[in-house]
Amino acid sequence: MSSTVSAQPGGLHTSEVAAEAGGHAQSAMPTALLGMLLFIASEVMFFGGLFATYFNARATSPGEWGPPAGAHELDIVLAGVLTAVLVASSFTMQFGVWAIRRGNIRGLRIWTALTLVLGVAFLAGQLYDYSVLGFGLADGVFGTTFYTLTGFHGAHVFGGVVGLTIVLARAMRGQFSARNHVAVEAVSIYWHFVDVVWIAVFSTIYLLK
């Protein structure tokens, strides 16, 4: 659904009219951006539910908590690299937002493309990790919670990649300006959210001993 919300045009008109009319509780936030923030709140709760299953399973399942016998240990180095990739992509995304706020659509194109590349790199790395781990969704409760948590995070990254593609496509067509680019703001917030969730996932699965 991120692509739906990201395609909101004309958000700044709303805030402009609001500023002129002065009037009631209208802050400068475009409605589409508020919509994206609310949607992200719901996604936070969704991941909260998944984290709850992870913690509950960890607390109640018998025996050692980790990959099943015979499988590899988790590759924390690879996960660390993926974390760096995603954090870097948040920076590139934000540079893109700052660029378009100054009216620099060429800058937006470059930074968005970079973010897209980093996002795809993250997904590729995640898939590679899955392929070498040696255990699956059906291999006990650790496998189930591991794949569910990282899998749904990956799905959200994929959604973000779709949103970034749309933003890039529209940026290539010149459809953003300094005063009218709410889709970029919305997608960037979504992307930062995805990054923050990954930090939580990484810390929980790889760092918490």
């Binding site: 009631h24 609310l38 909260g48 998944l50």
Partner: protein, 564 residues
């Protein structure tokens, strides 16, 4: 209006009304679609209730086998909650909230339509289990391990999971829409503390939906993974935990019941002042009570799990008792509003008063159940069934019918017939109490819930028989309602803009409103803008019903129509 493409509505050709309703993004039409769709599911789930009550009237399995019975109570609960009561209140919210705040539509009209269409399709998926070997049959609460692949092998439970996920998504999108609309699209002068209480309850309800439904989605997905991809979330044999399902489900499930009741309370808070000719007593207290209920609702979920032995009893019992307080505040405010008012017992008011009295009983039985020593005896008995029907049905459904009678004139331009409405109310009220009051006694004497049959020596037969009579009376009471609706739609008395002499903005435009809702808005300086428009500011009543509409300057009339 948009003029870029050949706009069919410009009058070049008359669209088919099927296409019109299929493609509408108008919140008023979408609201009506929600209400119609919900009532269809209401009738379906009602028939299932009659199946249940017919089977339980006397001992012995006369009509259905146990498997069919299990599907009946599962689908009854699931459909009533997810496909009737929540959507119908959302439907009234959809129609009325933009009007009440002076907006031309919701913030995201196309997403609004998407939220609606997911409902019949998601509901269809849930229901289609009947066509494929049996619908879900593990109770609307779907406890693990009953729902595990091993014990519920059919596709019905999978369809239930997926259908509920679709319905949940619709709710989340709708919640985003309501919150954005209420915060961003109020007319000038309508501060938050001048909004009608109904809008406040929808706001808090939407927040609850936004934050609680995703947790259910997570749980449903986990269950689907367990059933289909070899997952181990809830299977103790491979390290999973069945009680985890209960935690996840009820963390959603408890806010869900407040989602069901708050809008109905909002409706009642609109109706009682109008039919008592007095302003609502304690507006601010109402707002804070509503917010308080919303916040507290996230802290009580484990009172559904007292008997697992795995939850902290004192904490949840305390929070459960605490949440009764803001509800009590509302009760006193409604009564205080009526005190020394000039009361008219029109049908909407009758249903509102029915709500107040029946919800009081349901609330009391709820506080009883919130005490662990009592709950240990009454968990999973008919006492719980009595409680939940007094709050869901005696509360929310009475609120729904109150809303239907109250806003029908606004939506259709015609007034429903009063005598028929009163017949409906009394049959409904008496039937309801006949059906559900005996269940308190049944629970106290130990009758478990979700059983298809019981022993003739248990002493439960007479109560069950009376309850079944009541259930059929409720069903019969729908007949005058349907006759009323259809006859009024075909040839009813015109209602005019403001048939009830009400206080809020939806009555300041025609019945039904034009597509853009308002040609001109009255000035808004209080929470009863229409009242002051009609009656002036204490300088004596305005002549007749003459409206003194202030000519708004052009700039102020520039609405933030449909945000970007």
């Amino acid at each position: 209006m948009a003029t870029t493409t050949l706009d069919p509505r410009a009058g070049t050709y008359r669209r088919s009304w099927v296409l019109d309703w299929l493609t509408t993004v108008d919140h008023k039409k979408i609201g009506i679609l929600y209400i119609l769709n919900s009532f269809i599911f209401f009738f379906a789930a009602g028939i299932l209730a009659l199946v249940i009550r017919s089977e339980l009237a006397v001992p012995g399995l006369q009509f259905v086998d146990v498997a069919t019975y299990n599907q009946a109570f599962t689908m009854h609960g699931t459909i009533m909650i997810f496909l009737f009561i929540v959507p119908v209140l959302a439907g009234f919210g959809n129609y009325i909230v933009p009007l009440m705040i002076g907006a031309p539509d919701m913030a995201f009209p196309r997403i609004n339509a998407l939220s609606f269409w997911l409902l019949p399709l998601g509901g269809g998926l849930i229901f289609s289990g009947y066509l494929f070997g049996g619908a879900a049959a593990e109770g609307w609460t779907g406890y693990a391990p009953l729902t595990a692949e091993r014990y519920a092998p059919g596709v019905g439970t999978d369809l239930w999971i997926i259908g509920l996920t679709l319905v949940g998504t619709a709710s989340i999108l709708g919640a985003v829409n309501f919150i954005a609309t209420i915060f961003k699209m109020r007319a000038p002068g309508m501060t938050l503390f001048r909004m009608p209480i109904f809008v406040w309850t929808i706001l808090v309800t939407a927040t609850l939906l936004l934050l609680a439904t995703p947790v259910l989605t997570a749980g449903l997905i986990a269950l689907f993974i367990d059933r289909n991809y070899g997952g181990s979330f809830f299977d103790p044999a491979v390290g999973g935990n069945p009680v985890l399902w209960q935690h996840i489900f009820w963390f959603f499930g408890h806010p869900e019941v407040y989602i069901v009741i708050l809008p109905a309370m909002g409706v009642v808070s609109e109706i009682i002042p109008v039919f008592s000719r007095k302003p609502l007593f304690g507006y601010k207290a109402f707002v804070f009570a509503t917010i308080g209920i919303g916040l507290l609702s996230f802290s009580v979920w484990a009172h559904h799990m007292f008997t697992t032995g795995q939850v902290l009893l004192p904490f949840f019992a305390f929070m459960t008792t605490l949440i009764a307080i803001p509800t009590g505040v509302k009760m006193f405010n409604w009564l205080a509003t009526m005190w020394r008012g000039k009361i008219t017992l029109a049908t909407p008011m009758l249903f509102a008063l029915g709500f107040v009295s029946m919800f009081l009983i349901g609330g009391i039985s709820g506080v009883m159940l919130g005490q662990p020593p009592i709950d240990f005896h009454l968990q999973d008995t008919y006492f719980v069934v009595a409680h939940l029907h007094y709050v869901f049905f005696g509360g929310s459904v009475f609120g729904v019918f109150a809303a239907a009678y109250y806003w029908f004139p606004k939506m259709t331009g015609r007034k429903l017939n009063e005598p028929l409405g009163k017949v409906h109310f009394w049959m409904h009220f008496i039937g309801f109490n006949l059906a559900f009051f005996p269940m308190h006694q049944l629970g106290l004497s130990g009758m478990p819930r979700r059983i298809a049959d019981y022993s003739p020596d248990a002493g439960w037969t007479i109560f069950n028989l009376v309850s079944t009579v009541g259930a059929f009376m409720i069903a019969a009471s729908i007949v005058p309602f349907l006759i009323n609706v259809v006859a009024t739609l075909i040839n009813g008395e015109p209602a005019g803009d403001d048939p009830w002499e009400a206080n809020t903005l939806e009555w300041a435009t025609s019945s039904p409103p034009p597509a853009h809702n308002f040609d001109r808005l009255p000035p808004i300086h209080s929470e009863r803008p229409l009242f002051f428009l009609t009656h002036g500011h204490g300088h004596g009543p305005a002549a007749g019903r003459e409206r003194d509409l202030v000519e708004e300057p052009e700039d102020d009339a520039e609405r933030r129509g449909g945000a970007a």
